[in-house]
Point group: C2
Chain length 430, copies 2
């Protein structure tokens, strides 16, 4: 039986899951594939921590070069995360004619274009199923299973931490800060959770989804990113009353041949499939011109789901190694029919706006007048409390309006003496 | 650019969708793959119907042998459906060293084992993404994306016709017969809908899911199959009141190393992800030991989704042809840890039972006594109407019980003079 040697760099939480899966599933993979996937070297700075796995001593090294330069190793799994030294390791490995499996969304989002150029030059593969949606086979599905489709849009809940926090806030009427504490207790949020809660992790994944679906590496700077740390329990409650759920979505849409790419908390109708995705789960909703609506749901992070994705990538590359004299590369860059990436200012959306205003005659009329002047028309207004001459919340849902108009109008409205707090603005999707 | 020639046999509704996709997406596939997928021959008995596609005359033939014997054709798409002559065509094509793409679930469920044996012997591939879940890339996902997992269970809504009918019955309180008429009007049900509504189509797909997930071709005779034609609006209403939705499910479960494989209408809690799958959509819920719960959702049939799946299979095979001198086969039969397939009698489930009984003292006690004697314990009882000495429905939900005990107990209960109609029994899942 043909043996394929793999080396792992980054023996942390995810890395130890991958090691376990490779050892436990070696026999299953032999049966399914007729191939022996052999873990030949593991590199980490820390060789002493107990990961609960018994490993032959000779496997471990602190020197990444021992893995990269091992002539018997065909595939290198990069699980360090972050830009440095992951980038340098991947590039030297590619130049050494190694194939790469990585879960590093941050690196791919920021440096993917360059990395794939090098991979092409050296005729090696970079696989990255674990970088989006954890164990959900979404990369493979878009790239292979749905290859014949032109895609219309993608809406993704791709950050489990944020989704857990929003679910807690929704189900238990918690404020953000309390829900974040719960997430930390459960191990779903890191000490510094900003990458997750401020939307950056979702943006990295969005960039990867965009290149798969639209054949174009979107510059992170062109992605509008808004997180969930300003979401109030009050807004979630209003949304619920109006029949909506608030989710942090990664959104990519093709509108008139232009691509909209953004991450923002979003009001979704309760009946939307994504609305019932709760807790730390992920789901990607994608609309292809042939297949129509599709939804992929599963755990988006964690040791076991990630190991499932990493092993599936190793298997794909190993099978290709055994099959082919040469690799037939599937380009990530195809003609996408997309002329350009839209600026956020140009985006059209429906809006949820909550004003904090003095409850007195004429206030609503003044706000409505300013909105109308900027071509924002109101679909509905909710004012629950009546407290004359006191500050009360007033919620408006708009018809479709242009982001820029909303921004200008709100600047104007926020300056009114009857408006007592900065108005809250959230976008809606259907 | 390397050209791969394909031949299509069966130019019906699905076939014409595939032809359109192959012609319309030829350029996109060139860009994505660097390969030219060329439709070289189309075979059908009917060469005169207008399919709304302009095709060069020379492409068409009425003689399948012209396709099978064409030395330039590498891949043959079988879209005739049914056993004969699809089986004979596939076998002769394999013997002629052609690869096969098929959507024929009936053929695979009944003859798959033999067909794959022949494919192995002649070192050719048989791909079948379109056979389950239409455009949902579920075959690829189980076989490749989730390859490292041991699976615990699969629950699938895999028949859009039945799901449409049940959704109509649920949303509009329709009876089965009226909902079936609606399904026919919409083109979701065929003139003879028995394959769909009696559960056989779901059973065929279940067999395919089982071989993918558990490495074993389950004999169709060993699959318990119960359709939806006996479901009453009354039972749907009771289920709803109790917090459940009724869905036709294809179910595969590993229990103590034994496989349970069955198709039956099932009460699912409203919160279950599958409960919100409505209309003619499909969804497959699958539980792997690494990935945990996953759900794949999309359109399960129709010209465009099916063409998406068929083209993805063609692409996979074409890529393999270009890459390899030889094929590295992924076996469908691996050691599955499954000792045997359970008989239905042995299955454990919770049950919904509706009795039609004379409303008088002592009746419930007699029924409860018989159930208790057969070790079936009652979780809850609902009797909405009170009409003394008249026939009323009484609904019971049981704790987990053995199918055989339920059958024996009900035979006994149905013989009671106070029981006026055959009791309705439905299984429940969590």
């Amino acid at each position: 039986m043909r043996k394929i040697n793999v080396g792992l760099i980054g023996f942390g939480m995810i890395g130890s899951g991958v090691v376990k899966a490779l050892l436990n599933r070696r026999q299953l993979l032999k049966e399914k594939l007729g191939l022996d996937i052999n873990l030949k070297k593991i590199c980490d700075k820390d060789l002493t921590s107990n990961r609960g796995i018994s490993i032959k001593k000779g496997l471990l090294t602190r020197d990444a070069r021992e893995v990269i330069n091992d002539p018997e190793i065909d595939i290198i799994i990069e699980l360090i995360g972050g830009i440095h030294p992951a980038k340098e390791i991947i590039i030297s490995a590619l130049k050494n004619k190694k194939h790469i499996v990585t879960a590093n969304k941050l690196l791919l989002a920021e440096e993917g274009k360059g990395i794939f150029r090098i991979a092409k030059e050296y005729d090696r593969e970079v696989y990255f199923e674990a970088s989006v949606g954890g164990g959900i086979p979404i990369v493979r599905s878009i790239r292979e299973g749905l290859i014949a489709n032109r895609f219309l849009n993608i809406l993704g809940i791709v950050n489990g931490t944020s989704n857990f926090i929003l679910s807690k806030m929704t189900d238990e009427a918690m404020e953000f800060e309390d829900a974040l504490i719960k997430a930390k207790e459960k191990g779903y949020a890191e000490k510094d959770p900003s990458l997750d809660i401020e939307g950056w992790d979702s943006a990295h994944k969005l960039i990867i989804l965009c290149v798969l679906a639209f054949g174009r590496w979107v510059d992170l700077k062109k992605v509008y990113v808004e997180g969930i740390s300003n979401i109030k329990a009050l807004d979630i409650a209003y949304a619920q009353d109006l029949g909506y759920v608030i989710k942090l979505l990664a959104i990519a849409k093709v509108v008139n041949g232009e691509l909209e790419a953004r991450v923002n908390p979003t009001l979704l109708p309760k009946e939307h499939l994504l609305s019932s995705v709760s807790g730390n789960f992920n789901a990607i909703y994608i609309n292809g011109d042939l297949v129509g609506e599709q939804l992929f749901y599963g755990e988006g992070a964690g040791r076991l789901p990630t190991s499932s994705a990493v092993v599936s990538d190793i298997v794909e590359i190993a099978t290709k190694i055994v099959e082919g004299k040469r690799f037939h590369r599937r380009g990530l860059d195809f003609k996408s029919n997309i002329k350009r990436v839209r600026r956020m200012n140009e985006v059209l959306a429906k809006y949820y706006i909550r004003f904090s205003v003095i409850d007195k005659p004429g206030v609503l009329a003044r706000i409505a007048h300013i909105l109308g002047f900027h071509r924002i028309s109101i679909a509905s207004v909710v004012q629950k409390e009546r407290r004359e001459e006191k500050v009360v919340p007033v919620v408006m849902l708009t018809h479709e309006a242009k982001e820029n108009n909303v921004r200008v109008a709100l600047k104007e409205i926020n300056r009114l003496s009857v408006v007592k707090e900065k108005s809250v603005v959230l976008r809606m999707e259907r």
